[in-house]
């Protein structure tokens, strides 16, 4: 992969960021107390509240949660591609190698995208531009960021498609997105994210739109590439199975809050937050075939008007009076874990 960019291009590609002093010893990505609001007609929706996590080289962080819990908003806030308005980052820091990206000017920050942090979206068909060939869309990155000529960009697009396992790459670069199958299109998205050799890839539900066998292929490709290139990978999903396979650490989100953070083994073995526990129990199991599926009763709260106290209390089996008034902080749980539940000890033991 590293031979894709020549040395001169690497230099010209880095130059727009030469004024920014990155600290090589700082963690790859630190998100601290990130807050995002949406200004809607019904009021202010608190989509992300005080979310923090750290990502190091070669590490995979799974962000888990149901639709609307703020996972994708977190990803887009890190990338700086939220639609503002209605969205607004109202607090916190997003530090890449010690530099707070939220403080950078847009003309500098745009060079972080694709060069340092890249993102893979869920629906590759709608996320690729329908009127340009795949080769053109891949090559654009080299032309605009590395000053490559059209011919150079084209040959690199071919290498990229090869890398992500698309057969017949030299011919396929002239195809349009709608001429690919779903799995192949998602591979194109992965190729696009890898193009400029970023340090971090955020995969926002990368396999949700695919059928199960293709899901497995795409996930395998993604985690192989991650290991080879020692990428920091943030995997956003609602699929507990996918996270269990590849993630090292997990951050569970509910109603815009990070409610539990822990290593993957511990979370699956002994969850410390009632929401995580309920999620794990709701996975259908073959040995319970024929019985009713366990579900989490109720619906996630409206972000415009969240319930007082712990936002999970209306659906929580462990809830007491205190939960309706006191918003739980992130308690430190033994084993280097965090849980936003007043009664985490009870949850651990149950």
């Amino acid at each position: 992969m590293s031979e894709i960019l020549t040395e001169t291009e690497r230099r010209s590609n880095k130059s727009p960021l030469s004024g920014v002093s990155f600290d090589g010893s700082a963690p790859l990505l630190e998100v601290e107390d990130l807050e995002v609001e949406f200004h809607t007609r019904d009021g202010i929706a608190h989509a992300v509240n005080n979310v923090s996590f750290t990502l190091r080289e070669g590490e995979t962080l799974g962000i888990l949660g149901e639709s609307g819990c703020g996972k994708s908003v977190t990803a887009q806030a890190i990338m700086g591609i939220l639609d503002t308005p209605p969205a607004k980052v109202t607090g916190g820091q997003v530090r890449y190698r010690g530099v707070d990206l939220l403080q950078l000017e847009e003309k500098t920050r745009r060079h972080i995208r694709a060069n340092k942090i890249a993102i893979i979206f869920q629906d590759a068909l709608s996320s690729l531009n329908p009127v340009f060939t795949v080769g053109w869309q891949l090559g654009e990155l080299y032309r605009k960021h590395a000053g490559a000529s059209r011919a150079q960009a084209k040959s690199k697009a071919v290498e990229l498609l090869d890398l992500v396992g698309i057969p017949g790459a030299p011919a396929r670069i002239n195809s349009f997105p709608h001429q690919f199958s779903g799995g192949m299109r998602q591979r194109v998205m992965i190729a696009m994210a890898l193009a400029l050799e970023p340090d971090i890839i955020i995969a926002d539900e990368p396999t949700t739109a695919l059928d199960v066998t293709v899901q497995a292929q795409v996930m395998t490709l993604l985690s192989d590439l991650q290991r080879e290139m020692r990428l920091g990978l943030i995997l956003i999903t609602h699929d507990m199975g996918v996270v269990a396979d590849v993630a090292d650490k997990i951050c569970v989100m509910y109603a815009g809050h990070a409610v539990e953070r822990a290593d993957v083994y511990e979370i699956y073995e002994r969850p410390a937050h009632p929401y995580t526990k309920a999620l794990l129990e709701s996975i259908p199991r073959v040995d319970q075939k024929g019985q009713d599926l366990t579900v989490i009763k109720g619906l996630p709260p409206a972000l415009v008007d969240p319930p007082p106290g712990c936002s999970f209390h209306p659906r929580c089996a462990f809830a007491r009076d205190r939960c309706t008034t006191d918003e739980p902080p992130l308690y430190e749980v033994p084993g280097n874990r965090l849980s936003a539940c007043h009664y985490w000890e009870e949850v651990l033991e149950s």
């Binding site: 591609i81 995208r113 709608s126 996320s127 531009n129 009127v131 990155l141 605009k144 349009f176």
Partner: protein, 334 residues
């Protein structure tokens, strides 16, 4: 792309034949129901039957099928097609070649249509983009309000008002003035002036294009706003492209696809609308030719000119179809 163009060209043949046949049936039906146009030429006078016979023969109106209401007169249609193919569009009731009349007047109408088309496309897309990029801001509100106003005004009202206030009140003092440049006075004209074949068509052209300008501006605005929200524009931003590239390359091209379709249809609308505008500003174009021919019940002229305009319209649509495919690859591979 080549195959798509070839297929479109093959499809073009039945379309044009069918359209011409419909036109033919309509004209034949008119004669069958309204009566013999040659006889109508003489009004209350009763000319000798021999003269009538001779005239009918001259205008190909002597076929028996014209007396049988509902008969499509296929043989006449075939004859007419053969005539058209050799460039012969018949003669009018005063003995002049319809083709010649048309060629004389067509350049004026083309100039008028081109002015309207360029004006509505350039200004319409520009306004649409400005409004779309600044949704709900001042520019957007201005564009939305003024376009509704333009759409609400019928061309004949708008044209007459423009003629009165711009052409007369504003333009007349300028034309009389020694100091004002001549081109300015001629541009704000009341009527067509053959000495200034482009300038004096400016005001009528703007009037003609005003309605479509509003339509194009609104279409561009809506389409742009919709595309700006699309996933692939989000991808473009995630690629770290500049915002001008994100909008100019990744959004605009997709947004213009419906606009191009509209412009294709609009070429036909403009040719039709030219009839009214040419009437108001006294422009000796094709519209006026048809207008006068209808008044004089000059069937050969009506039929000949409408046929040519139909062909022009169909060819314009063919070109738009091809342009459409060039813009949107999904069309090419259906």
């Amino acid at each position: 792309m080549g195959r798509y163009v070839a297929r479109r060209l093959v499809q073009f043949i039945p379309v044009i034949l069918g359209t011409l046949f419909l036109l033919h049936v309509l004209s034949v039906l008119t004669i069958q129901i309204v009566g013999d146009p040659v006889r109508a030429l003489f009004g209350e006078n009763a000319p000798p039957e021999a003269i009538l016979e001779q005239l009918r023969a001259n205008y190909n109106l002597d076929d028996d099928c014209l007396e049988q209401t509902g008969n499509p007169c296929v043989r006449l249609f075939v004859d007419r097609l053969a005539q058209y193919a050799s460039g012969d569009f018949g003669i009018n009731f005063r003995g002049r070649s319809v083709a010649e009349l048309f060629v004389e007047r067509f350049p004026v109408t083309v100039r008028l249509t081109v002015i309207a088309l360029v004006f509505e496309t350039v200004v319409g897309i520009f306004l649409g983009v400005m409004a779309g990029l600044r949704k709900d801001k001042l520019v957007d509100n201005f564009v939305r309000f003024s376009t509704v106003l333009l759409i609400a005004f019928p061309v004949f009202v708008f044209g007459t008002l423009a003629q009165l206030f711009i052409g007369l009140e504003l333009g007349l003092p300028l034309r009389d003035s020694e100091r004002a440049p001549e081109w300015l006075g001629q541009m704000l004209t009341v009527t067509y002036n053959p000495e200034f074949p482009w300038l004096s068509l400016m005001l009528p052209g703007l009037v003609l294009g005003a309605f479509s300008l509003a339509a194009i501006a609104r279409l561009t605005r809506t389409s742009l706003i919709e595309n700006l929200r699309s996933d692939y524009v989000r991808t473009a931003r995630a690629k770290g492209l500049t915002s001008s590239r994100t909008v100019g390359v990744h959004t605009l091209r997709n947004s213009l696809i419906p606009v191009v379709t509209y412009i294709g249809i609009d070429i036909g609308l403009l040719l039709g609308g030219a009839l009214v505008t040419e009437g108001i500003f006294n422009i000796p174009g094709v519209g006026q030719l048809v207008f006068l021919a209808i008044q004089a019940n000059d069937t050969p002229v009506i039929l000949g000119v409408v046929t040519i305009l139909t062909v022009v319209f169909l060819v314009a649509n063919l070109l738009v179809d091809i342009l459409y495919a060039a813009l949107d690859p999904r069309i090419r591979y259906e």
